[in-house]
Point group: C2
Chain length 384, copies 2
């Protein structure tokens, strides 16, 4: 190909199709920007905008107030000693794994861990031991499973794993495990616990100290109304010096962060949304109420909500034999549901899925949730 | 601290001070957004916006046309077989180092390498051998220095380094080393060469194949008019399978990229600016002419341009004894230059610097460059 006017036509400014749809994709709900963040984008969009007054490293920038945000506001918000911003939750996890473990060491993951936890461990060249869950339909992880997994690692390798990770909640079923118990079990074996809170920090109150976590990881674009990619990484004092070790040759630069991470508009949108994000975590009970109401409505139509029930999170997984049956009979086959929803301006259930799918009710509000509920109802009746 | 209305006041929407200044900071020039990229920000700002139609991994997304961009346009633009987007040039470099080397292996860096090359090597736990340069005032790196460094590594460790890196240009003096010769020397020892082109890809024509580089790294926010953090990483076919190895458990996910990287507005601003960026690289000769003109003007006032002369890049380093002398005499001391420039709406020379500083003329244009030249002239005359 030659990069001429014709071949370049497909690039340039492109519109986002489902921008104004009711988007119930769990990936999208917590990352919708606040008005303040949208305004911040136009101010701070240029490449290295935040570096105008950089004293040498991102988290030390006083203008704009990144220093205060990283060293005062975020530690308070997450309930942990030291915080840095990263390029995302997965990068936060890799950073901890890479700093805390050496090639060939073991890590314990809950079986329902996000794929990026597995891939981060693979990148750090670690061995993975998983904590099993109860399987269908609850997929419940018992805290005691961490003791079993840790003991298996000790038996196989002669020492405890370098780290354990709990996904809080997991990204498939939205289950919340008793993190305090998991932390207490891990600490009995002197194993530090990383809480992957990519779907919770910024939506619900998360306090690492209260939960007993040694590391907490959040996602800006997933749950903190920030433009991605950006994440947060909190560490207790005991491990902060390891994870945030400074370069021997470039004294202010932290090795695992490669000096600076979210160096641009991403951090400024996170800061712009932060006051709203702090406040919305106080509204969490109402979000859970909405999720449960929505789940009941769908179950009333014959769908089955998988995972914790009653549910404690906006992310929910449904089994929908009724839609699967329709897909077997109609012309458009397994794409019928996506198309029917699209006609009703609802986006977020992957095209082609009918039997199993996940969605999120976070911040949708009762009015739009009613539209979604009515849409499901209409579609079922249409094909009866 | 408590996160209440008062303490949260300092966050939210914040204005960028020097937004409308003539900004000659080398970090900033190549990352100023195009109008198309600014519009893209408002469309794609939401967290995971590009993932509406994700088939499982970022570079495979067809809507928007990320697949075509990553697999057709960028390989053509960089002259290399396989390309991925990353979270920045430093992340690209770490990815290559981590994939190509193992703990304790050696890497060869030019002494003037960017600090992130050193820190990335430290993160990958490699030993570093540097290629010396000629020192003040040219800081010239001779390609033959790579042979010397490689042979030293062989002598010390019994095998060649896992990788060599050339900074093209370096971020201090803007020097361009004969990359072809460096590549040819490295290949004589079977050492792959990584070209760190963070200050060149997106500004000047860079073709990895023509230069003989095995890897090429660029920066979206530094030089491709993209909102950061975002970078590009190109690899020749021979090494692509190593660097972009897929997960054994999650078949479509690339381990070193942790699955997906620039998953949001960053990639969409890079795509939005891409047609303009391609075209502006064809204007490189005029940029070099502007840089040389500017350098001559400043040298005419008694400043000394350090590094290659005549210069071949917009990034230039100056020694300014005349400003240093003034700083010794005036009240505001070493901050006088920053303040004088600020009064003239010129930003980008770090506050406190007078004797040595770097700047960039990239895309400033003769009108604004004249304003900068006149400002220097006025300031010198004012304190005579």
């Amino acid at each position: 190909m030659i990069l001429d006017d014709i071949s370049l036509q497909k690039y340039g400014y492109i519109e986002r199709g489902p921008l104004n749809a009711i988007n119930i994709d769990p990936l999208q709900r917590g990352g919708i920007l606040t008005d303040e963040a949208r305004r911040a984008l136009t101010q701070w969009g240029d490449g290295y905008s935040v570096c105008d007054f950089c004293p040498g490293v991102l988290d030390q920038i006083k203008t704009p107030p990144i220093y205060d945000f990283v060293h005062e506001a975020l530690p308070e918000f997450l309930g942990i000693d030291e915080v840095r911003v990263t390029n995302g939750a997965r990068e936060s996890k890799f950073t901890v794994m890479h700093a805390m473990a050496r090639e060939g060491d073991w890590i314990v993951l809950d079986q329902v861990a996000h794929y990026t936890s597995y891939v981060a461990a693979q990148r750090a060249r670690l061995n993975i031991k998983t904590v099993q869950n109860s399987g269908n339909p609850d997929y419940k992880t018992e805290p005691q499973g961490y003791a079993t997994a840790i003991e298996e690692v000790i038996k196989e390798s002669g020492k405890p794993p370098a780290l354990a990770l709990l996904t809080y909640p997991d990204g498939n079923y939205g289950n919340l495990v008793d993190a305090k118990k998991v932390a207490s079990i891990c600490h009995q074996y002197d194993v530090p616990l990383l809480l992957n809170a990519a779907y919770s920090v910024g939506k619900m109150p998360i306090n690492a100290k209260d939960l007993g976590a040694d590391f907490v990881v959040g996602s800006g674009h997933k749950s903190m109304a920030a433009s991605g990619p950006i994440g947060v990484l909190g560490a207790v004092e005991e491990y902060a010096d390891i994870v945030f070790e400074k370069s021997p040759t470039h004294k202010v630069k932290e090795i695992e962060l490669l000096g600076c991470t979210a160096r641009g508009a991403t951090i400024m949108t996170m800061i712009a949304s932060f006051p709203t994000v702090v406040k919305r975590t106080h509204n969490w009970d109402n979000e859970v109420t909405d999720a449960r109401w929505f789940s009941e409505k769908l179950e009333g139509m014959g769908l089955i909500q998988i995972g914790d029930k009653p549910h404690d999170h906006d992310l929910m997984f449904f089994e929908a034999p009724i839609f699967f049956d329709i897909s077997q009979k109609v012309k458009k086959g397994r794409y019928f549901l996506y198309k029917e929803l699209k006609e009703r301006n609802i986006h977020g259930i992957k095209a082609g899925l009918t039997k199993f799918f996940k969605l999120s009710t976070y911040g949708v509000g009762r009015d739009d949730l009613n539209i979604v509920v009515d849409a499901f109802d209409e579609i079922i009746k249409k094909y009866e």
